[in-house]
Symmetry: C2
């Protein structure tokens, strides 16, 4: 198809498509004449993925490029690619060097060994989690750490459902893309559901009292 | 305390503190002489909150200003303020006008009535959730919607734990701030835990096979 039809099908403006090609996010179309290129179903699909990561996942172009590089890297063992794709989705800017960060990191190490999770301390999610707990402690909410196991139970349920879905639905070459999609879009799904459940719980608790 | 001490205690550089005061995120200090101001514990706490929303929550200054405005609005019924603070944390840019969006919105309406959640269709989280599901459907992952109830179960567990924590820990005037903190930092906590649980589930499923 021509670039205009690709644009119409995906809702992505033509100049934006050209920008994605220049930035290496999208392969160039096949040249059919000196100034016309033809695009296929893989382009359409890749554009839908880029849009989902940008619009729903709130990711920047450079972050999307990193994630797509992990998706396209077919040489590494599957669970390592999955891990590295997930790592690139963290937001950590590193650890602060104070008592709260140290205590939070110890609590996270403890949690991981208590749950028997097969991961180790260099996982960026460990830093993200530690920094979130440290920020809570600095705000006087160190007791929030008491909820960690309730949160971890819920996270395990969701993660197991995700992995079963990926394993059941997809051919191997689609799995990496599936996990990337699931990690980013699944996070948006969970975040919205949590906000809805908050509104419901709050209406039940405080709506009646006021 | 002077601004230098406030900076040292919170790790926020002096020019950044002055910027927050100019932008209305932080109240000005009390003038003690013509060019010296004194800051107290409320300033320190507010700065920790701003930093947590920015560093852990990844929020921009304008978004933080919106959330703090909801925190400081003491005139509205509590559960309405909580709802409106949560609303401002969504990422939706509105709905696309296609079959996937319409079907996703119907699925979300159905889910809310099936779970008996006390919320309604104008909640921005409904749009965010619908758009995430529509993006999945456009990528050929409409079947992901089968996981919705597993996700909703997990979201309810987390939301109930959050609300119990807020209700138990805090005086009324602290509750709004507590919910804002819990919504933003709790999301970062859950997101990290989900990524850790993914790595664990993936190592168990694929690590052995390869």
């Amino acid at each position: 198809m021509r670039i205009g039809e690709l644009s119409r099908k995906t809702g992505v403006p033509v100049p934006t498509i050209k920008y994605y090609v220049r930035e290496g996010l999208l392969p160039a179309g096949e040249l059919t004449s000196r100034n016309q290129a033809s695009y296929g179903e893989p382009h359409e699909r890749r554009l839908q993925l880029i849009r989902a990561l940008a619009d729903v996942g709130g990711m920047k172009v450079a972050e999307i490029a990193d994630v797509l590089a992990a998706v396209d890297d077919t040489d590494r063992p599957l669970h390592r690619v999955l891990g590295s794709a997930a790592d690139r989705m963290g937001r950590s800017d590193g650890t602060r060097d104070d008592a709260e960060s140290a205590a939070a990191r110890a609590a996270v190490t403890d949690l991981i060994s208590r749950r028997g999770w097969r991961t180790h301390a260099s996982n960026p999610a460990v830093t993200d989690l530690s920094e979130a707990l440290a920020a809570l402690a600095r705000l006087g909410h160190g007791a929030f750490a008491e909820l960690l196991d309730t949160y971890a139970d819920a996270a395990e349920q969701v993660a197991h459902a995700d992995l079963e879905y990926v394993d059941r639905q997809m051919a191997v070459e689609e799995k990496v893309e599936g996990v990337v999609i699931g990690t980013v879009l699944g996070e948006a799904v969970f975040s919205s559901l949590r906000r809805l459940a908050h509104v419901d719980a709050s209406a039940r608790l405080y709506g009646a009292r006021e």
